[in-house]
Symmetry: C2
Subunit: 201 residues, 2 copies
DNA sequence: TAGATTGTTAATCGATTAACAATC
DNA sequence: TAGATTGTTAATCGATTAACAATC
């Protein structure tokens, strides 16, 4: 296994990658100071992050945009594909399913699940909404171990219990609630409330 | 002004608050170890965070749930109301507008804006969708300085430019793109891609 | 050459954990 | 009383910044 990458570093590298995607057709080189000023962070932090990706720059010029972009993609394993399901086809689940081009980042959202009969069978951005009753079967068939959970908070714990029973190992939880899961299951909390409160600071 | 609270601390405190909301009717006391084990963090960190909120516990019992919940609400200024607009009435903007009871946390989403005529005039969870052409006027009328931005990435920079011209000071950006803004404007990046990549670790 | 920018080390800062005395 | 849990200090760990020699 690769050296562990902290969440904060993943965060910054994806932001650098974002900048490079815009820059790639305009400039051949980009400097650490340019990246740093766009993100309002320290330029030596940018250089350190880039060095961590194994990319070397050119004094007086900066970093080759194409090379740096590839270096980040390599370090974040964009090529390493992972299949996931989204549970909950409300606005949030739908937004996540359609979000950007996840495929580019190595995440394949293969299916959406919901309990609402009105939604079942519909297709969103090429992804079919299945009945939640089919979840267990498809998880097993397709060897899924990671779920994006976008159900209402009242339903979240009971769905989580089902997911645990299906041997899911990682849950990305968008509901404002805590999930009780065994030791060997990881819950990533997407804490929207916290995001809101930061705005008030 | 209050002592600054780090983003990580805000994050944890909102998660504690979440736990307390469930616990409040079941138990009178909760221990730092119980909270810590639900979140898989260290119990002394929980005690430190709680002490920071100015709440004292009772040896052998733990913390009074009601008191602790209030202490967190106080520290995070839930009572201190802030008005915001959401720009972009797609699935994500809609989800954010309807998300939980933001009002409980002191965030009032007052209006949604979109450029799509089909959406304008509709009402979502009691919140009206206005034409983006009305944004400037309403920002000035209602003294808004904070915007939640949920537009497609291609539109994000040009909307951001308009927001800057309207004297907006803080933008919560959900698009996978970097916004170029002046020094005195803050962009909070909600980095969904980074969230996805964490799942792959 | 002079100057801009990298690459990297050491210093600093901040956050988490360990440990344990105090307390109910 | 004995035991569980807090409150808090010191130790550790990790992340960021400052500084500057190396380099093109």
């Amino acid at each position: 296994m690769e050296e562990a990458i902290s969440d904060k570093l993943i965060d910054r590298l994806t932001l650098y990658h974002c900048i490079l995607s815009y820059t790639v057709n305009a400039n051949e080189y980009v400097s650490s100071a340019e990246i740093a000023s766009l993100l309002k962070i320290d330029d030596s932090l940018v250089r350190k992050d880039i060095a961590f990706c194994g990319i070397q720059g050119l004094p007086k010029h900066g970093y080759n945009v194409v090379e740096l972009k590839k270096g980040i993609e390599e370090k974040l394993s964009f090529h390493n594909k992972k299949d996931v399901f989204v549970v909950g086809a409300g606005n949030l689940g739908t937004a996540l399913t359609k979000y950007a081009d996840f495929k580019d980042y190595g995440i394949n959202v293969l299916a959406l699940f919901d309990s609402n009969p009105d939604k079942i069978g519909k297709t969103l951005a090429g992804i079919t909404v299945f009945s939640i009753t089919k979840l267990k079967n498809l998880v097993e068939q397709m060897n899924i171990d990671t779920i994006i959970l976008a159900v209402p908070p009242q339903a979240a714990q009971s769905v989580a219990d089902e997911l645990v029973a299906m041997n899911i190992k990682s849950i990305w939880n968008f509901s404002p609630c805590i999930l009780r899961v065994p030791e060997n299951v990881t819950v990533h909390y997407e804490n929207i409330i916290s995001g809101f409160l930061r705005l008030k600071k």
